[in-house]
Structures are given as structure tokens and as C-alpha cells.
Amino acid sequence: MSGQCKFKNYIWELPLRWCHWINVMCIVVLSVTGFFIGTPFSFGRSASDFTIGWIRFIHFTAAYLFAVSVISRVLWSFIGNKYAGWKEFFPLATDKGRQKFIGMLRYYLLIDKDVPETVGHNPLATTAYIGLFCIYSIMILTGFALYAEHAPGSPMYRVFGFMYAMFSNQGMRLTHHFCMWLIVGFVINHIYSAWLMDIKEHGSEISSMFCGYKFTVKKED
């Protein structure tokens, strides 16, 4: 079949790919360092070591990078090509989108056997991405609010004033901690799906996230 996929389409532009892989890197770093912040092991051999100090420093540095990357991706959805556009993320808002969504769902639930091929994002995936972006926002908001907690009255603390009103102290930590596991759940699903679609669509799904190109049978409209 792959022989038929002869048209090469530029789908994922450079900023989108950068954001994706920076996010991946940050999430891995944030989860590992975050785990150690939550359950610190006694790495230190002497009181003049700085192991948890460094782990926290790395967490906060990666946190800033992550926040910038997430915000950039949101902005890109208004600047980039149609595959990156914000409309892609609300397939349920249009008839065509709903149809594709249901087709995809039936395929995933092993009801249909037709592989629904998509050039850009598939509608099931973008719906999950919306959920993921909500979790990103929660992580960034709770993260920076916890970060600013040491300096009440500082500009950052005031910006997050609404967070302290919404969350109790420990509730905020618990939320920040628990949402890490939601991201882990997403990632397992996501990598599996990328791999599955790479096999089924023959469009070089996975490598498209590196090089930007996907292959199709027809010339795209």
C-alpha cells in the first residue's frame, strides 16, 4: 500500500515540531524532578551537598521553558497553517468533524474495520489534546502559584491571587502532583496511537513529527 502514498505534504511546520519536542523533553524532566520533589530520597552525603536544591532548580527552569513553549503553541494556532489552527481542536463543532470523530471512535472500539485516514490531526486525538492543554494549564497555574508562595506580596503572588482563593494549600499540591499522573496516562495512550496510526495509515506518522512531512495517496485539496 505504501507504494501508493506518493505525494509528500508539508504538514507540521517547524515551530509546531519544536514546541512538541520541547514539551516532551520538559514533561520528562518535570515528571522525574517533580517525583523527587514529592518523595525526596536522601541523596545527600553531607550537609554541604545541594542535591534537592539542584533538582528543584531544574524543575523550575524546565517549568519556565515549558510555560513558554505551551504559550507559543497556543499562539501558533492563530498564526500557523490550517493543520495547526485552533479550529482543528474542536472537531465536534462541525458536522464533518463529528462524522470523522465517530468514524475514528468506531475504529478504535474495534467496531469498524475501515482505517480512517487523516492528513492533519485526527479528530479523536485533537479532542484528547484539548484535555491535555487543560491539564497543562492546571500544571502551569498550580506550579507557578506554589512557586510564588514563598514571597507573599510579590508581583507573581498577586497575579496568582485567584489561585490561592480557589485552592487550599495542600489541595494545590495534591492537584499539581496528581495531574502529573494524568499526563502520564495521556502519554501512554498517545505513543501507542502514534505508533498504531504509523502502521495503519502508511503516511509516516511518527517521522512527520520530526521532519514535518506526511505521505498521501491523493494530492491534497
Binding site: S42, K113, Q170, V184
Partner: protein, 379 residues
């Protein structure tokens, strides 16, 4: 023998109208507090107010000259722990000085007067010195059902608070219960308890939370008023910045162990014996603002973390409900019947997702898919 000593002998610390004309310095001298002790006290207060040592002579001079403000001490829903903390401040001269600087006209626990006599003393002070006396409140104020859940002398705490705090120059809410409702206000708060600020919205309230209040902070607050003629700068929760401006975690003597990565992992383990950081044992120092690490309790003898127990976060609003659990870093996930930590649920979730997709992958591999036709495919 002075009029003062008569009063002291009577056990009734009652207003002494001649004594009022004396300055604090004169009264202390009369009471036999040596100049040296007085200056030591002034230095300690300067330090407690987080002022540079060069301020000590200013403090001494101001206290020498200033008149004693009348003070009434009200107890509501409390355990008298703050009174205990004040009376038992280990250094006797400090305790004496505190009580001598303040002309305590009414204090349910320590006054000798009882019944109508005591109530009359209170009435007299608050009418004669309206707008000039300091009111110290210890304990929360029940608001539910019109405030029927607590009364002294036939008057509900709520009415008394409105009457006394409303007419005071300033109200100092000592201890977490008076400041934020504390333990009486903990969920489910059966009596609808609140702190003074909430019960008497118009009053000028300085919150000195803590369980109990650190008597040094109370004295320093009063001294600040006597020296500078105004109440100290407060933070967003109405707490003086000099005492609550720094986070426990940032002044903690165990902090190097936190940054180094040296933790107590079990009570009594090697790390505990070596004085390592109590973060893993649920220390709430990273979220609590108080000067415990520097001011300490009982004449600077020790404080919870200093003696090997994590900080409970007692000086923060609603600490009983929001700072728990005491001995663990994070609460359990609400809504799960049995005790479940976020990590147990998270690992379960991740394992569930992984298992579901492993099965999905296997089923998929066994199926023959239909290739999309040219009509159904998008590109």
C-alpha cells in the same frame, strides 16, 4: 508602700488613677526592675521587632517616657493556652515587665476579682478609656444562632466582642483561634466560629496567630505601639510583618539538610538523630509564615522543628483543615473510600491505560483492516 503594691497585694490589678500618670520607666523602677534588666528587655524587643540593634536606645527612651495603656484581655472559645504562654515566658523579668507595661484591667484567668466586681472593672475601663484602651482577644467567636454558643457574665461572646473590640484603640487577636477561628472553626464548625476580624468587621485588629501565640511577639507588638505610636505593618492576613514576614522554611536551622537532600525517613531513624530535615515527615514549614525559628518559644529554648517534630502550620488561616495531614506530605485523594494516595491512584491509572492499549494492540494485530477507498480517504 506604693499604691501599686497595695493592688498587687490585693491580687486585683485594678486601675490606679495616680499610677496612670507614671511613665512605664518609672513604674518599672518602682517595681525594682533593674536598669540593666530593662535595657536587656529593650534589646530583646528591638530584635523581636526585626529592628537593627541601634534602635535599642530609642526603644528604651520611648518606654521610659510613655504612659501605660489600659488593657483588657477577653477569652472566648479557647484553651487559655495563650495566657499560659504569656505567664510562663520562662524569663521572669520579661513576664513581669510585660505585665507591668500593660495595665491589665481585666483578664478572666488571672484576675482575682470575680462576678459583678470583675464585670464592673471591664465596664469602667471601656467607658472611661473609650478609643484609648488595647483589647487582647484569645479564642474564637461563635456566630451561629445569634452567638448563643458561648457567654460570660450573661453576655454572648459576639456581643462582648462587638462592644469591647469596637471601642478599642486596637484589638490584638492572640493565637490562631482569635485570629482565624482556629480549632473551634475547623470543619464542621458546629458553632459557626470565626476570628475577631470577621466577627467585628469595623475594628482595628492585629492578628498574632500561633498555637499558642509567642509571648515575645505579643510584647513586641505592644512595645511597637508604645514606641512608634502606631500599629506595626501587617501582611495580607493582618499579621505583623516583623513576626510573620518570613517563611519558617527559609529561616529553619534544618534547611541545609533540605537542600542537601538529607531527610528523616522514619521517626527515630539515623537521620532523625542527626537532626535532618523533616520534610518527608510532613513538615509544613515550606508553607508557613512565622518567626519560630528565630524567636523560638519558652525564652528562646526551642520550637517544634528544633525539637524534632515537623511544623504543623498552626499560624496559617484554617490550618486544621488545609495543612493536614500532620505526618505526611500530601493528603489522600478525596472521594476514594479507602485511604489512597495520589501516587497509588496514579500508578493504577497508568497501569490501567497501558494494559488497555496492550490488549487493544493485540486485538488490532489479529484483525484484518479494510483499506480506505479513494472516496473515503482524505489525502
Amino acid at each position: 508602700m506604693s499604691q501599686w503594691d497595695d493592688d498587687a497585694k490585693n491580687g486585683l490589678i485594678e486601675r490606679n488613677y495616680n499610677g496612670r500618670e507614671y511613665s512605664v520607666g518609672e513604674i518599672l523602677r518602682e517595681r525594682g526592675v533593674s536598669r540593666r534588666d530593662f535595657l536587656k528587655f529593650c534589646s530583646a524587643m528591638t530584635a523581636a521587632m526585626a529592628l537593627p540593634a541601634t534602635f535599642a536606645p530609642t526603644v528604651a527612651q520611648a518606654l521610659d517616657e510613655v504612659k501605660r495603656p489600659p488593657l483588657v484581655w477577653l477569652e472566648f472559645q479557647d484553651c487559655a493556652g495563650d495566657t499560659e504562654a504569656l505567664l510562663r515566658s520562662a524569663n521572669p523579668t520579661v513576664a513581669e515587665i510585660v505585665l507591668d507595661i500593660l495595665s491589665v484591667d481585666y483578664h478572666e484567668t488571672i484576675m482575682a476579682a470575680a462576678g459583678h466586681q470583675a464585670e464592673a472593672a471591664l465596664e469602667k475601663t471601656i467607658t472611661d478609656y473609650k478609643g484609648k484602651y488595647i483589647c487582647v482577644v484569645e479564642g474564637a467567636i461563635p456566630m451561629k444562632d445569634g452567638g448563643v454558643y458561648g457567654c460570660v457574665g450573661g453576655k454572648s461572646h459576639l456581643d462582648r466582642a462587638r462592644q469591647v473590640c469596637g471601642g478599642a484603640l486596637a484589638t490584638i487577636a492572640v493565637g490562631t483561634c482569635a485570629a482565624f477561628g482556629g480549632i473551634p472553626a475547623a470543619v464542621p464548625n458546629p458553632t459557626g466560629s470565626v476570628g475577631v476580624r470577621e466577627a467585628v468587621p469595623g475594628a482595628t485588629v492585629i492578628n498574632l496567630p500561633g498555637c499558642p501565640v509567642n509571648a515575645d511577639n505579643l510584647t513586641a507588638t505592644v512595645v511597637h505601639y508604645l514606641v512608634f505610636g502606631k500599629i506595626p505593618a501587617l501582611d495580607g492576613h493582618g499579621r505583623p510583618l516583623f513576626a510573620y514576614g518570613k517563611r519558617i522554611h527559609d529561616n529553619c536551622e534544618r534547611r541545609p539538610h533540605f537542600d542537601a537532600g538529607q531527610y528523616v525517613e522514619h521517626w527515630g531513624d539515623d537521620g532523625h538523630r542527626k537532626g535532618f530535615c523533616l520534610y518527608r515527615m510532613g513538615c509544613k514549614g515550606p508553607a508557613t509564615f512565622h518567626n519560630c525559628p528565630t524567636q523560638r518559644y519558652n525564652d528562646k529554648t526551642s520550637w517544634p522543628v528544633g525539637s524534632g517534630h515537623g511544623c504543623a502550620g498552626c499560624s496559617e488561616p484554617a490550618f486544621w483543615d488545609t495543612m493536614g495531614p500532620l505526618y505526611k506530605r500530601l493528603p489522600n485523594v478525596p472521594g476514594f473510600g479507602i485511604e489512597h494516595t495520589a501516587d497509588e491512584i496514579g500508578i493504577g491509572l497508568a497501569a490501567g491505560v497501558a494494559a488497555a492499549f496492550a490488549v487493544h494492540g493485540a486485538l488490532n494485530a489479529l484483525r484484518k483492516d479494510k483499506e480506505p477507498s479513494d472516496e473515503t480517504r482524505e489525502g
